[in-house]
């Protein structure tokens, strides 16, 4: 008897608890439904008659859950320019490289060597591995596969190698990057001037007069028809444009 009573009480308690916990949820769900119901007819009434472009039933495939590959099995070291002072590099190296390395330099050589980025200043030279103007070494951890590099030298050409430094100090190259150029951060020191006259390109626009840099001509042009030529849509202009590609 006692056992049955306990079961009944337990069941009642459970029902009560369920009711308490679930009731607000139900109410909220119902409220949302009402809201949607309120809005829907507005659209239907107003726009159903208009020609509508069919909306595909199939939603976009669930590729959103997919992840991008961590590795592509393509060995590469890529160097990119962020600004005059900073570069960014990323790389991918295959697992077999470690075995090859150990075969060449002895077992344990991978662990005893340090992964290093060697940044070469190759301004003005065609880099062949030995002819750089200078280089700096940046030790990196084995776990990383990309690095922001502070260079601090605008207006230089740079190339990067990923390698390992053996205990005896030898640098063994694994990958070499593309060459990049860090932008200038100041005015150029080169003050000699060179001027170009792109006559061929503009002859077909029908400008016969040589409008050089003579101030007189400039004034004449300014005072005359005004600087703004408005004949763009005129047939001569349009036809000269068509001819543009053939030149």
């Amino acid at each position: 008897m006692n056992v049955i009573l306990a079961w009944v009480l337990g069941a009642m308690l459970l029902t009560l608890l369920l009711a308490v916990f679930l009731w607000p949820g139900r109410r909220r769900a119902a409220g949302q439904g009402d809201g949607a119901g309120d809005r829907k007819p507005l659209f239907c009434e107003e726009y159903a008659a208009e020609p509508a472009i069919p909306v595909p039933e199939k939603p976009i495939p669930a590729e959103e859950q997919e992840k991008l590959p961590d590795k592509y099995g393509v060995e590469r070291l890529v160097l990119m320019v962020r600004d005059p002072y900073w570069l960014y590099a990323y790389w991918e190296i295959s697992a077999t490289r470690q075995d090859e390395f150990q075969t060449r330099f002895g077992s344990g050589s991978w662990q005893s060597s340090r992964a290093t980025l060697r940044l070469y200043d190759v301004t003005g030279v065609t880099f062949n591995g030995n002819n750089a103007n200078s280089f700096i070494d940046i030790p990196v951890s084995d776990e990383v596969d990309n690095w922001h590099i502070h260079v601090g030298t605008p207006d230089r050409e740079l190339c990067l190698e990923l390698g390992r430094i053996l205990p005896d100090g030898r640098f063994i190259t694994l990958l070499r990057s593309n060459t990049v150029y860090t932008p200038r951060a100041s005015l150029s020191d080169r003050l000699d001037e060179e001027w170009m006259w792109i006559e061929g390109i503009y002859r077909q626009f029908g400008i016969r007069r040589m409008l050089g840099s003579s101030p007189m001509l400039v004034e004449e042009f300014e005072g005359g028809a005004g600087i703004v030529p408005l004949g763009i849509s005129s047939p001569e202009f349009a036809s000269s444009l068509k001819g543009e590609n053939n030149v």
Binding site: S188, D189, I198, I227
Partner: protein, 520 residues
């Protein structure tokens, strides 16, 4: 004066109320239509003007897309309905005047969009070019950030080539100039531009100022790259005058306050149908307050006051240019050119009175003075074909002036994937240069997915930290789509059903020429 009109390609046929599609709708109502309206009025009054305008390929594609046109009309009809309710609700209140203004603008927008230009606003800009008012130039195909793409020259070439093709298709003539996305230049890009007959591009001020050799006239005359393509450098003074946080025009107290939108402020039961169906509050475009001051308290917007301020500011801008030019004239052997480029979407969308300001500026420039003339780069190069030769400095107009915005800790991870798929696209195109049928369709779609993944907007959004999730999803989706297409092409097992689905969803550049990736 250069306006750069661009929005990322956002088109989601699967969801009628896709949140990010609103970027386009808002820009149409608040920027493109007011600009078109202003240009039309100027032409009607027979006022000459010359403005350079970029129509970015994604924007041209979206404006001419039937599905998006359809959805825009629905969007606009809802706005009109809301403005009718608002005119009644605000009757007798200080907001009534603004409500009337919105109602008039929305009806006007519908008239311009549907009746005047047959739903395709590209036609409007083409008309302005045909009438000699605008010089339309192109941009990279998906606004890809070209300097971070130079590892594969072919992907830069495809960004330019696909854009030029689209421009020619829509505007009937090849573009003479290009707006490099984010004004971002790196060595060698000009040579690719020359392959496509492009005569000029723009850089930020230091792109020309720091050029090698040092330019004699700074940014006040173009320079020729050794390739013969001209580079025009941005003038700092005129830009600052408009956009500076402190002394810039858009912050004037009489101008409209951007952040106080009824979509965020009115009761949910009332505004519900006009915000996102999920209940998420979004901007409706109806904003009733003026900036008023630096404090939280805001006063009602008075359209007439704002209009008057726009006229004053236009006069001020012109006055300052006159002085600038008079001064520069004493230093130069030719008239200086002042390059004032702006993002078109800042006019109207952000700076509500921007299009009015521009209209006043054009009228004043025509009637009130004869020192400043509006001119486009082509006009200038025709008048002064002899220019100094110098190699521009790699640069962009982003924060700090170089590539950091698009290459920082928030987005550096995308490049190992982007470069990889670009490389694979080059290999594919090289292996199948004469594909036809299903294989050609797959190659073209692979090109589309690559281009869409390269859009600089995603990297930009990741670095700014808002809406990041969407940008990450778009980048990943396009990369994954590419990888799957690549595998199917290589395995000679193209899933036509899935390919058709992609062609339907990511339908930009129907005539894409994938051979740009193997063009030598």
């Amino acid at each position: 004066m250069t306006l750069h009109a661009h929005l990322p390609y956002v088109r989601h046929p699967e969801d009628e109320h896709f949140l990010e599609e609103k970027w386009l709708y808002e820009a149409i109502t608040e920027t493109y239509i007011p600009l078109i309206d202003a240009f039309d009025r100027l032409i009607e009054d027979n006022i000459p003007f010359r403005i350079t305008m970029t129509m970015s390929p994604p924007l041209v594609s979206m404006l001419s897309d039937k599905l998006l046109q359809e959805r825009y009309i629905k969007h606009l009809n809802r706005l009109i309905e809301l403005s009718e309710k608002e005119v009644v609700r605000t009757y007798g209140s200080p907001f009534h005047q603004a409500a009337l203004m919105y109602r008039e603008r929305f009806y006007g927008a519908r008239h311009i969009f549907c009746d005047r230009y047959g739903r395709n606003l590209v036609q409007a800009f083409k008309k302005f070019e045909d009438q000699g008012r605008l010089e339309l130039i192109t941009c990279a195909a998906t606004h890809g950030f070209l300097p971070l793409m130079t590892l594969h020259k072919e992907s830069v070439r495809a960004q330019v080539g696909v854009a030029v093709d689209l421009h020619r298709k829509h505007f009937g003539r090849p573009p003479r100039g290009i707006w490099l996305p984010e004004c971002a230049y790196a060595r060698g890009i000009d040579e690719i531009l020359r392959e496509f007959g492009i005569k000029f591009f723009f850089t930020d001020s230091h792109g020309v100022m720091f050029a090698d050799r040092r330019p004699r006239f700074g940014v006040f005359a173009p320079i020729y790259c050794p390739s013969g393509v001209a580079a025009f450098g941005r003038d700092m003074e005129s830009s600052k005058q408009v956009w500076s946080k402190n002394e810039g025009y858009p912050g004037d107290f009489d101008y409209r306050e951007f952040y106080r939108d009824i979509g965020h402020e009115l009761d949910h039961n009332y505004i519900g149908p006009y915000i996102h169906p999920s209940g998420l509050r979004v901007h409706t475009g109806m904003k009733y307050y003026r900036i008023s001051g630096k404090h939280e308290h805001k006063e009602p917007y008075v359209p007439d006051w704002a209009r008057e301020k726009a006229a004053i500011h236009a006069g001020n801008f012109l006055f300052n240019r006159e002085h600038q030019i008079k001064y520069l004239n004493t230093l130069m052997d030719r008239p200086p050119v002042i390059v004032a480029p702006y993002d078109a979407e800042l006019f109207g969308h952000w700076w509500f009175e921007g299009p009015t300001w521009l209209e006043f500026l054009i009228r004043k420039a025509h009637f009130d003075q004869d020192i400043v003339s509006l001119i486009t780069p082509s006009d200038y190069l025709k008048m002064f074909p002899c220019n100094q030769v110098a190699t521009p400095c790699p640069s962009s107009w982003g924060n700090k002036g170089y590539n950091e915005v698009w290459l920082c800790q928030a987005n550096d991870w995308i490049y190992r994937h982007l470069h990889l798929i670009a490389g694979r696209m080059v290999e594919l195109a090289g292996d199948y240069p004469d594909a036809g049928g299903l294989l050609e369709r797959a190659l073209k779609q692979a090109g589309r997915e690559l281009l869409l993944a390269q859009s600089s907007d995603w990297a930009f959004i990741m670095s700014t930290g808002t809406m990041v999730e969407y940008a990450v999803r778009r980048t990943k989706n396009h990369i994954l789509n590419f990888l799957r297409l690549h595998n199917e092409i290589r395995a000679n097992r193209i899933d036509e059903g899935w390919l058709s689905h992609l062609e339907y969803v990511n339908n930009i550049f129907p005539e894409l020429n994938y051979r740009y990736y193997c063009w030598t």
